[in-house]
Symmetry: D3
Subunit: 137 residues, 6 copies
């Protein structure tokens, strides 16, 4: 088994906010991340697949095809968007990096056969990042 | 003369929009950067001062004092903010990286004596950045 | 389960030296890392926690609280310090990156509940780094 | 157990090509990576060993000795070389990053005792990389 | 005046070789860079324009248009190519980073009006790079 | 004219201290950088030469020869050393990044003919760096 990773970049606005709380509690818990006028990030996303290299190509997955799949299935939905307002798969989800990574996993996992999705690593800043490896890890 | 640079990080939301144009023209010229729901960036800012090292300290400028000045005079105003809505010195200015760098220059230039502000370099993404060196350069 | 990482930076002096050996053997085994006048590094430290995102916040851990904990419990003890002379939890320990990472683990593991400490990755240089995942991994 | 990594750099030319296919199929499957006049990369390689720190040195492995081993056993064979034409251990292997990482593993695994080879991570570009952890992982 | 930079990435094969010399002298002067079977690099290219921000857009240049121009006028000619064999504007030129940067300048300078080309910086590796600012600098 | 840069890495210990001041003033001015037990850095140094590419080689300077010169004339003197105690050309100089860059300039400037030394850029940390371009700039 070999692990194959493609790293992509996008930027987006978001706001940490729990709609079941009042404004005071949101401000207290989320601090400046709760700014009602939004803030944003340059997200870096590493998508890792795992599988056996195909004997005829040497590829676990054709990374240019993976890059194209990430473009159409993910980046067009999130790049230069507002995670709270514009992204269908984030509706009803608090847009923490943790939750965002889990949702990205669910978007991508069905699409990468015959390889298998191994991990989604999401950098919100160069110093803060999260990784999700599916429900069983 | 020695050039001394401090690099700092912040993130913010913004939207490219010229209020004297109608929506169609804004959308055509600014594309996805015109998203009415905003998008955002992790900005990296390099502030370069120039001067003679002081004979008693070896410093052109005490970088921990510069870091503190950047914190109170700049980062508190822009970090986790919306450049169009929240930042006083960006009111009436289209928040391109170019214009933002010029405004940052005007914020900082009066504060760095006895050194002199030499350049403000602003990375909007790791692949797009601008630099302003004052009106005479 | 989601893995959440915070990366922090500090710098320190150290010297590789086994006090039970004579100087010749220390010099032979540790080479230039044994310099009696010390040398130093800009350490980069990645601290990874693992847990379930809290349903009300979307956070495995509040990274600004983690950043503050790292500041008071670790960085104040090691930043701009001499690992051999100044750091209480390194006394009697040869300050290799391996041993330093293990000691950092023991400093942090009791403090991160309800999340769990998953890994401590320590970059001594951009090309040399170590990772410790606790006694059972 | 502690994981110890050394990162090294080399550059090489290669070409994706399956000699059992005709030119049309090679061009279709491998696209611009099939250019008969070759293309090349700055490869970054991370070699990770795992073991217990030695009580007398604090080292899982002496990284300067590992660096020297990588120099003589690997870099001299691949740096400024053509993977398809010049590298003995790549003969008969399609030089995908996946296959190249597996072959590097087989070159290095017998040489790192008493530590154990844990992973070989190979960056073909900053955005595309693969990792191999041996036949049992 | 504001300086605006776009950074792009491509990879290519090349070989240092002076056809007016015999093989022995080529090998002696260029060393492993003279390998007749080629080697290659992941080049990073920074293209810097200079100009006044347009009052209606805040842009010195629309960076997405610059990115597209770099794609069609440069990257399609050099990405996954052999600089010695495949690139029209490198014929008869020894493909050092210095000469390559000068030729890239001549390709791009006529195309960026109303901005002006200020610099072409070419990274052959993360540790070796060159910059050309035109004949008068 | 083309600007050619080589980036090298070393690490060292140092301490900010003005011997003509008492301890209280040193502590007040230099803060934690004054720690009597030293601290240290991974320095990154960029050395930039300027000149015309030689018509027979395409090189302003042979970067492998420059790398070797930096090794013997600089890195052997400063790598894994104490700047205050071990480095001859830093005796009597307060080892700020500014002063260190100036001294490195004086070490290297006489050695790079027929190219000319254009700049010495020294990163003390990834966020703090200085540049010296000689007495006339």
């Amino acid at each position: 088994m070999v692990y194959v990773t493609r790293r992509v970049h996008f930027n987006a606005a978001h706001r940490m906010h729990n709609p079941s709380w009042d404004d005071a509690r949101n401000a207290e818990v989320f601090g400046k991340c709760n700014n009602p006028n939004w803030h944003g990030h340059n997200y870096e996303l590493e998508v890792t697949l795992v599988g056996e290299p195909h004997p005829e190509t040497g590829y676990v997955a054709d990374l240019s095809r993976l890059a194209q799949l990430l473009e159409t299935e993910l980046l067009e939905k999130v790049d230069h968007k507002n995670l709270n307002l514009d992204v269908d798969f984030m509706q009803g989800v608090i847009p923490s990096a943790e939750n965002f990574a889990i949702q990205i996993w669910h978007q991508l996992a069905p699409l990468v056969a015959p390889a298998r999705l191994y991990a989604v690593r999401l950098y919100e800043t160069p110093r803060n990042f999260v990784e999700y490896r599916g429900a069983s890890n």
